[in-house]
Symmetry: C2
């Protein structure tokens, strides 16, 4: 999930005949371990391989075809860009979800039982993200510190602007912001990275 | 979704023979309108009815049985508590999701196409929440201003503490926080308010 720190730790110790190409798939669920795997886990998901000027082109090509054979699409980028992209699409969203769940848990005037009962109103999606492995996530934030803090800085800047719009009653600012964010959702569905099925099939009874 | 403001606007105009009991179900999906309904929409979901000292007990009882007949569980509370509970479980999470999606859309160094491709890493759950109706959400925030701002204040306080832990390398603070939030997730699954199925069945191929 983080590459710059891994490369700095591992690369100097690589024997000369070993090609070291970091990479990982953007796939999987909130569950960990080998029993959480399934045959289609990489289908139409992206795997990022990290290269620099020292990367062997033949080895990179072989590794690309390996991931493609597993069903994945492959992108190649440098370590810093990888860490920034993951900070946006994964690390910052996880920290924010953890924070919101912690706040709800902590409130004295709303009980945990109430939070659980009324979680279908949006909150439960945050709890799924915030159920991921604590050890892994601690290490992600400690090793991708700079990119995560950069994104969180932008996040709080925008959040403060929206809070001010709420406080001053600036409905136009709110409406414009909420309209803009719908385009990204459409892009994700068109690219097959999520389904448009409402509520992810949680609605109604199980078959 | 907000009750205090509705009561202040509507209650004074009620004829004497009409019982005015605000309420709404915590159910549904990110889609709006009559075509987004389905038969089991209220099964094992909670409906909140709002009462005060003027509420007619017989009318409240009749309305409770109406919602129960539709499959819902019913809770009764006062308007201020309702608005605070919804600020925690719905309004603040929605604003936070909108904010994060807006930030990702706005970044110059990461393209929208990259955000879409790598959204499976956590971000796409935020985009679903941030795809809800902009007009409704503008009005929610403008009418539930106080409770939303209170929760957002607590949220930024916690977020700053976690950011500081990342910056100073305080892994223990991060690990403890991430461990605590798992208990609420277990409560939600035990209460039948979400499924433990990984990824909400988005994994793999469609049947």
């Amino acid at each position: 999930s983080v590459k710059r720190a891994v490369i700095e730790s591992v690369a100097p110790h690589m024997p000369g005949h070993v090609h070291f190409i970091p990479g990982h798939p953007i796939a999987g669920t909130e569950h960990s371990g080998p029993r959480s795997g399934f045959a289609e886990i990489f289908d139409n998901r992206w795997t990022i391989l990290v290269s620099d000027e020292t990367t062997d082109a033949t080895a990179l090509d072989r590794l690309t075809r390996y991931w493609q054979a597993l069903g994945a699409n492959v992108d190649v980028m440098d370590a810093d860009h990888h860490d920034l992209v993951l900070a946006v699409t994964s690390h910052a969203p996880h920290l924010i979800a953890y924070t919101m769940v912690g706040v709800a848990d902590d409130l004295r005037r709303v009980t945990d039982s109430e939070v659980v009962k009324y979680s279908a109103a949006g909150f439960r999606d945050f709890t799924r993200i915030a159920a991921s492995d604590p050890t892994m996530w601690r290490d992600v934030f400690l090793t991708n510190k700079d990119a995560t803090l950069e994104i969180l800085g932008r996040f709080t800047e925008e959040l403060f602007a929206l809070q001010r719009a709420i406080r001053t009653g600036d409905g136009e600012h709110l409406f414009d912001y909420f309209t803009r964010t719908r385009a990204i959702r459409r892009g994700i569905i068109q690219a097959g990275q999520d389904t448009d099925a409402p509520d992810f099939g949680r609605q109604g009874k199980k078959p």
